[in-house]
Symmetry: C2
Subunit: 340 residues, 2 copies
């Protein structure tokens, strides 16, 4: 962590396990006690996966995709002292409208959690007469007020940047279709007020590498670094027996993040452990959050595994960024401003 | 035109042909000299269809989907003294960015033309790393300045309301997928500035009637009437030999147009003439504009026919609205505010 720096708070208690002696490929290693959240983690919830966590005071808090035993996914709040062992609220998060009246989505899944200034935003995918992005804000994790749906359907995998750029909120999303979507690029949008969104820009599309040759989508909230915005995303391959979701990495321009500076041609992690290859949707590693410490550069990557578990992996930010830069392949489309 | 009134300017020279003596079904009749624009209408343009026209001074002006002989659609300007015989510019409309630099879409099709206050807006479908809505404004039909793409892909059939509502511009659109889209509902979005869009609301989805049982999409700009916003739209049926596009009608609440007040269960017009059944895409009647006179209630509906021609049909606004009300079937989804 000399030349490459994280521009983010100190998180001294970032969960951590040292790098194993033998490690090939990307400098990313799994927690040896994965999965950290197993089956039937709470009453009425069969599986928790594709979930987002962050520091909160001296402890940790998170929003979790809880697949209820009736098959409908909702978002559950969880708390942890060490970011590894989690306790979940019994009831799903009680979203309200601005007036305080209950306003629950029909379903909600794949939440992300991002703090901007002093407000925490939860962003998820829900029914809006079609799959689309839902959002809510909270300051105390007791009241959760929904704000306007930012985009028309069909859209998934929305992630907010952790600070405004040029005075505007910035959100990444992945326009989709009404089904399992055999295509998908990452776009950026801006908003002055979290009500109206515009200045949409294309960030990057699928890659020529097999593991991201079908579609891609944002994963964890982008991390500000001295090299640009570090983006941990997912890339999907279409096989004769279904989709395979791997974890990829890219670095976006710090002022114009629709411009991709570096994009790693190799996956950072791909399904190979039993909890990634087996489950409700086999062969999925789906990153939704990181916890990272600017002092040591330690990073913990939280990812959904096989739509059944939560997995944890570690890396050093400087090693990861160096690896991405050393293995970078960017296309002409990646480096464009992304307006047509 | 006693009880039911159009709230729009006088257009004394609205093109017109009297109602034929024998007319069954909806009170809509075709111009006897249809199609008004035939094949190879201009040098390098094989077909003109799905185009929008409006009064301009004492004459008429329009934006036309010109399918070039290389197969790429662009938008051409046309002028007419009678709104029936049209002359087209040789070159496609030369769109620029705000700085005046050329900024042409990769392709552009199905334009609509709407005047709000003293500015004319052209709205079309184009490539934005996927099919999406493009927009430009002009005051003189000499310079055409593109403004921000309002929405992420994938989207088609966007139409502006002819005035602001509650201080905001309002646009109707039809979220789509990357292909021929076997689904599709109409949504509304608002903008304070034509840069940022939000407060998205669902207006209505496909109907149970065969002619609109696959998808629907906005057609002509909504017309303000004493009964609400009169919407001429298209409804699509999926058959074993392809899609069939018919013309439908609905009336939206004047203050909250995401609420459908009346929706005609019968099509207003469906392909049956040779120029509607035969062509590049057989069995298409696709409305994009109306010219209407508030004094007499005379309305001329311009529609693309078989992706090959422009057709013209006539109606009286009061008869049409009465027919829509008498044959109205609205679903629960139609009458909702349309937020989830």
């Amino acid at each position: 962590m000399k030349e490459i720096k994280l521009i983010s708070p100190r998180v001294a208690n970032v969960p951590w396990q040292e790098k194993p002696e033998k490690l090939t490929g990307a400098p990313v290693w799994r927690y040896s006690s994965n999965p950290i959240i197993g089956r039937n983690p709470a009453e009425g919830v069969a599986r928790i996966f594709n979930s987002a966590v962050m520091p909160y005071g001296d402890e940790f808090i998170g929003v979790f995709r809880g697949e209820q035993t009736n098959g409908i996914p909702y978002i559950y709040l969880g708390r942890s002292k060490d970011a590894i062992h989690w306790e979940f609220d019994k009831e799903k998060i009680p979203f309200t409208d601005e007036a305080g009246n209950p306003f629950m989505p029909v379903y909600a899944y794949d939440p992300r959690l991002v703090k901007i200034d002093d407000i925490y935003y939860i962003i998820w995918c829900q029914d809006f007469y079609g799959a689309a992005i839902g959002m809510a804000k909270t300051t105390d994790f007791k009241t959760f007020v929904r704000i306007e749906n930012p985009f028309l359907p069909f859209n998934r995998n929305a992630v907010l940047f952790p600070r405004k750029l040029n005075g505007n909120f910035v959100m990444m999303s992945r326009p989709s279709d009404s089904g399992h979507t055999p295509f998908g690029d990452i776009f950026l949008s801006e908003s002055p007020d979290m009500v109206y969104w515009g200045k949409h820009r294309h960030v990057m599309g699928k890659g020529s590498e097999w593991w991201q040759s079908l579609k891609i989508g944002g994963g964890a909230a982008p991390i500000e670094t001295s090299e640009g915005w570090l983006l941990i995303y997912h890339g999907v391959s279409g096989t004769c027996n279904g989709y395979v979701y791997s974890i990829g990495g890219a670095i976006l321009d710090i002022d114009n993040p629709s411009i991709v500076k570096y994009r790693c041609e190799n996956f950072l992690l791909t399904p190979e452990e039993w909890y990634e290859e087996r489950g409700f949707v086999p062969n999925v590693t789906f990153p939704c959050a990181t916890i990272h410490d600017s002092e040591t550069g330690k990073m913990a990557i939280y990812y959904g595994a096989a739509d059944s578990y939560v997995g944890l992996a570690f890396t050093y930010a400087d090693e990861l960024i160096r690896y991405i830069k050393e293995h970078s392949v960017v296309s002409a489309g990646d480096t464009e401003i992304g307006i047509r």
